[in-house]
Symmetry: D2
Subunit: 255 residues, 4 copies
């Protein structure tokens, strides 16, 4: 019977290599974000790419106990009470088209704006205007804009400026910002949300659209594991909660 | 109805804070491993703690397409074909007592060796010897020793030496090494495996036992997302595989 | 490499047999509940066993959109929006020690009451009294008694009377009722809940304890699939709900 | 905050009703398949509908330890070892477009054949011929035909003849059989598989397309729970299997 062919990892009696690199070297000389990049792209990141990917993962890490993925993880933890991994998995299942997965849709949309600008010899703003006009006619929402909670999403400008500082911001960031401009003038002001910013910078880093969801999952699992640990530590089993109250540290500054 | 109380994240209209720190500052000045530490411990890591946690996460990242969690993720991807998160979740569910979760059992065992040494005024080696004797009498296996694939696990010495270099190695590493010595002289040579090494250094970093499983999950999701992406890219749907063949990069050196 | 050995199903080019029986015969001459029994027990049920198992499965089918498993399935459906099976799986993950799994704990407890009565030559009531006394001393709750919502659980008496009518009620039902009596006189009135009734009748049918959870899952998936279908049909994506309002059929009678 | 609106279940202090019917009456006078029908359709089934739905659920129950959903459930059980529900959920996640979900695609295709026949005043065979021609031109496979294991799937004829006996077989069964004829004459003989048969009879029973996947899940959970119980009972933890060997009952006849 035919085997799985894989180019990711080779495990032998005395060695373990990721994409050809000795795991011991990766542990000592590089770190986790570089390994995430290596696994998904087949090469190690530059210093700028590594900083930006760290920004993407931190931006995705958590959004409070009431975010759908966090609430689902806590609900599973509250009933299951046997398996930590079941609770984390329950949170991950909640990620898809309507939660955490819009980054992938944004990357596809950004690619289409750029292709249209190139093929029809338009500016990126003109191509974005046309796409928004068509979406309005078809009654489709433009992904990556607007947020349930944030009027200004604090993660967006940081991602864009980190991408610029690293010399990575390119057509992807330009296209997303052109889409925000087009929607503001044609529909109403809807600021770019974290999905849009994340999709734009991942596009400019050369990731394929599905990475918009997969890297969000990598980041979010940091928060999901902490939410599950807190649920076990602080809540009684079989307790369905219907609101969230923050009682942790007040605002504090990084040194 | 009573709300969830949480000390992890506060999300407001224009701000998002993790344990009180502005997310923008965490994205720009720190990175993902530091945020994982912050979420789980409530404070930022020292430089040594951050390096060591990076080592732990990289050590957990992947072990090849045939590892149970990776094989399960690929099997789900092969049948489901609709949801990337379902495939990643399928891999995470495979993590538990018998796969990826032994780090937690090792941390509990290490704590018991250390408590016994202190309470009975024994050396750590004497306490480890007694625990191994009792395990043998009771027919219990000692967790954290031996591996299906590796005669020498390349991740173990690195974790221990990283912990020493960071000045973090303490009673936890000593207890795990004493257990290896005790089993070698009483049963047969069984080298410490990655679960044992991971449990020992997380113990010395001050993490609670459940972190032995939760941080393994954070690391492994890097590999699971890449395995799922490769399954979609390279394999036909509904293809059950029964072996693994590596066809990626040959061994190469980090610069 | 060694194969999985299985005694459940054999699939060949022109035949499919469950426990040796042709699937076509099972489809035409028996039905789903009989097949569930056959898969789990290796033989077909008597008419009485089949009726009682149907009662158990219907009793487990659903408990409203706010039950933890149903709420988790809806939350996953609301965010994921790609995979129906992911939402059903999210609901199933919520089932464990604190939700839907107490039937298994009850079966173990019932077995212990019966063994103690036999070994110490006690009546079942005397054995139940002692177990409750010990649980009180140890500060342990007795599973299978009391309910968040129901003062009288409408499923309990029906399961007991169906078991009696089928000539199946035996020591299991007696032990559970003795435990209710013991708790009423020693602690406070706490009526047997569905977990207790389900555990008692499954015990008397000869199922092992884990069936207390597995058969609850079989029943509950009827409700979970319907909850997921209703969530897709009636709710917008990414909608976190915090209460449940029933707006369906008013009470009606079976003809 | 807005509640979930639901028409499925109302739970109060002393009553529990499904679609308005008292659960006690459903347990005593009807059974599980009728309750599945009631939950999904809002009314109780006729005797013929109930028999046919039982046939559908039994046909979906299991296909051997090597079927993707069963293999995934066993893999999760082998690694997790803490939570039975996690293993069942792992199996369910495997169900989707490429495994167990083709019934939904068949129902959509059947609806399109019937609509085309009606709109263009064609026979169902003519409409099926055209759809197959278009699929060939577009390089699309026609779902519901052909099987990895079975040259003749023993479940197909039984489902069709049960549907005829119950007076339920109609345009859905006719359309599926016309598609088989069209493919045989235009491509090659590919007998209708269980997805196709299941989709056809569910269509004729009036179920919406998503029921093609959801009812397969209800049936399959019977097998998944038994596979998980067998894995725990017969296999050691952390055992990855690469083939299946049946060692159960030889063929036997129903009395």
């Amino acid at each position: 019977m035919e085997p799985w062919h894989t180019s990711l990892v080779s495990a032998e009696a005395t060695s373990l290599r990721i994409r050809g690199y000795d795991i011991a070297a990766l542990m000592q000389k590089r770190g986790f974000a570089a390994t995430v990049f290596l696994l998904h792209r087949g090469r190690l990141p530059t210093a700028g790419e590594e900083r930006l990917l760290n920004g993407v993962l931190v931006a995705s890490a958590d959004h409070g106990a009431g975010a759908p993925s966090c609430a689902a993880a806590r609900l599973v933890a509250s009933g299951n009470r046997q398996s930590l991994s079941a609770a984390v998995a329950g949170g991950i299942l909640t990620i898809g088209d309507a939660h955490g997965g819009a980054g992938a849709a944004c990357m596809t949309m950004i690619a289409s704006v750029i292709a249209r600008a190139r093929d029809l010899d338009l500016t990126i703003q003109e191509a974005a205007d046309r796409l928004v006009d068509e979406s309005r006619s078809a009654g489709r929402r433009v992904p990556g804009l607007g947020h349930r909670v944030h009027t200004v999403d604090p993660r967006v400008d940081v991602l864009f400026s980190m991408a610029r500082d690293a010399g990575i911001a390119g057509d992807g960031v330009a296209a997303m910002q052109a889409l925000e401009v087009a929607v503001r003038s044609r529909v109403k002001p809807m600021p770019t949300n974290v999905d849009g910013a994340l999709g734009a910078v991942l596009f400019d880093m050369g990731f394929p659209p599905e990475a918009g969801m997969l890297l969000f999952i990598v980041g979010r699992v940091a928060g999901l594991t902490a939410e599950v640990a807190e649920e076990y530590a602080r809540e009684k089993p079989m307790r369905i909660k219907f609101a969230v109250q923050y009682d942790g540290e007040p605002p504090r500054e990084l040194e």
